[in-house]
Amino acid sequence: MEELILQLKQEIINVLNLEDVAPGDIADDAPLFGEGLGLDSIDALELIVLMEKLYGIKLKDPAQGREIFKSIRVMATYIHANRTK
């Protein structure tokens, strides 16, 4: 799980172009949206693509993202349980 969390942070930084953010700056349990990283609705859609591309997880309803993208840990837990690749 710790490895997945670190990998996820690095991927999110790359995909969302968070140039001045290091994996260490993202706390495992901090909210991904609403504060801190300054992510917006397009970033949320891009995270949905990331889940499908890297882990083979296809969200049926984009609204599910709201729950899954609560924090890095919640996201990693979901990926761990549902990944197909």
Binding site: D40, S41, I42, L45, V49, P62
Partner: protein
């Protein structure tokens, strides 16, 4: 002042303005299930032009069909029909072409597309092909301002004509659907799997549409004809909020409306033809802006349920249909609308009604936070030919 001297629409609902208007009047929609669409994984509800009829109609107009893409053919055909109606020779030095499109021939970027030179991917090239088809040598103007392009092109026409350089402006809006455009809107989760429902409480997104629409504007020089549609004013304002999400407070939209309201009283408006894409955010934003502008009581409609969202063509197409509705003293209903939102009350038109008022407003909003509004008037009396200013 500038007036509509001729117009045309090519869409899923027909190849003349009249055909399109009559279809709308009788409640027809051109939106249907188009899957499988160019190899995309998801089904698509969209309004598409009949390719075969387009090719045949173009062949009737010109034997030189090979050099033109479907998009170019649709635009040329639309301009040709509008010019025939206006009885204007488009080759004149006093005629300016203005193209409105968001993506032009973007489908040619696909590796599997062959047969056209690379120049066709440039919007200015498409504009030149259209102008040159009609023997016009002036450098055309190309407006690419996302989904408000069609309004911007008309505002540009007004400015070009009123500052005196040209007597006629040919405004042509055109958009064809491709894997590029459809996949993009799918990735934004903006498309409805069903018929779109503008301003409805249960709306679930937009339907895309294809169209070419052309208006020939003439500078009236004080000689307006009775019944003619006049473009009186236009404004473009930005939300300064987000590149893809509309402002929650309708910032830019409200400001554009407020500028028009310096020229017209709300009580004189027959209707407002909103952008009404049927996405959750757009329609809420427009409702907020209309309420803030004191326009909640004015009849509001959206034409997206008939044509889908025709992107760069929308502003031109919807202005034409609205102007014809006004000429027919009609306020057109919003296809797909059943029940409005309680929190944001609006006077959404759900059945065709009669009006004797002579003004309408056309609203548009787009990515990049841009918003536009146009004010049209039906001229009720003929100005004497020897008008002195």
């Amino acid at each position: 002042m500038i007036a509509i001297a001729g117009d045309n629409i090519i869409s899923s609902l027909g190849f003349t303005t009249d055909e399109n208007y009559r279809a709308v009047e009788s409640g027809q929609s051109g939106v249907r299930l188009c899957s499988p669409f160019v190899g995309l994984p998801e089904p698509l509800m969209a309004s598409m032009i009949d390719r075969e009829r387009l090719s045949d109609s173009f062949a009737d107009l010109s034997p030189r069909a090979d050099g033109y893409t479907m998009l170019e053919k649709a635009a040329i055909l639309s301009v040709g029909n509008a010019a025939a109606q206006a009885q204007v020779d488009l080759s004149g030095a006093d005629v300016l072409f203005i193209l409105s499109s968001t993506k032009g021939n973007v489908h040619l970027l696909d590796e599997n597309e062959k047969g056209f030179s690379r120049d066709h991917i440039y919007l200015w090239h498409t504009a030149r092909l259209i102008a040159e088809f009609f023997g016009n040598a002036n450098e055309p103007l190309v407006v690419s301002n996302a989904c408000i392009s069609g309004a911007c092109a008309q505002i540009a026409a007004m400015r070009e004509l009123e500052t005196g350089a040209y007597s006629y402006a040919v405004v042509v809006g055109v958009e064809m659907l491709s894997k590029f455009i459809v996949s993009g809107f799918q990735s934004l989760k903006a498309l409805s799997p069903e018929m779109c429902r503008p301003f409805d409480v249960d709306r679930a997104g937009l339907n895309l549409g294809e169209a070419a629409a052309a208006i020939i504007y003439r500078r009236t020089d004080g000689k307006e004809e009775a019944g003619e549609a006049l473009l009186l004013h236009g404004a473009i304002r930005n939300d300064a909020n987000h590149i893809s999400g509309p402002s929650r407070t309708g910032e830019g939209c409200l400001r554009a409306l407020q500028i028009l309201l310096q020229e017209v009283a709300p009580g004189d408006l027959a209707f407002i033809n909103a952008h009404g894409t049927a996405t959750a955010y757009n329609d809420s934003m427009e409702a907020v802006a209309l309420a803030s502008a004191g326009l909640s009581a004015v009849s509001v409609n959206s034409l997206k349920g008939y044509f889908g969202h025709t992107l760069g063509a929308a502003g031109v197409l919807e202005s034409i249909i609205s102007a014809h509705a006004l000429a027919n003293e009609a306020v057109l209903p919003t296809h797909g609308f059943k029940c409005g939102e309680k929190e944001r009350p609006l006077n959404v038109v759900d059945k065709i009604t009669h009006t004797e008022k002579t003004f309408f407003i056309k609203m548009l909003s787009g990515f990049g936070g841009c918003n536009a509004a146009l004010l049209f008037k039906k001229n009720t009396k003929r100005t004497p030919p020897c008008h002195t200013q």
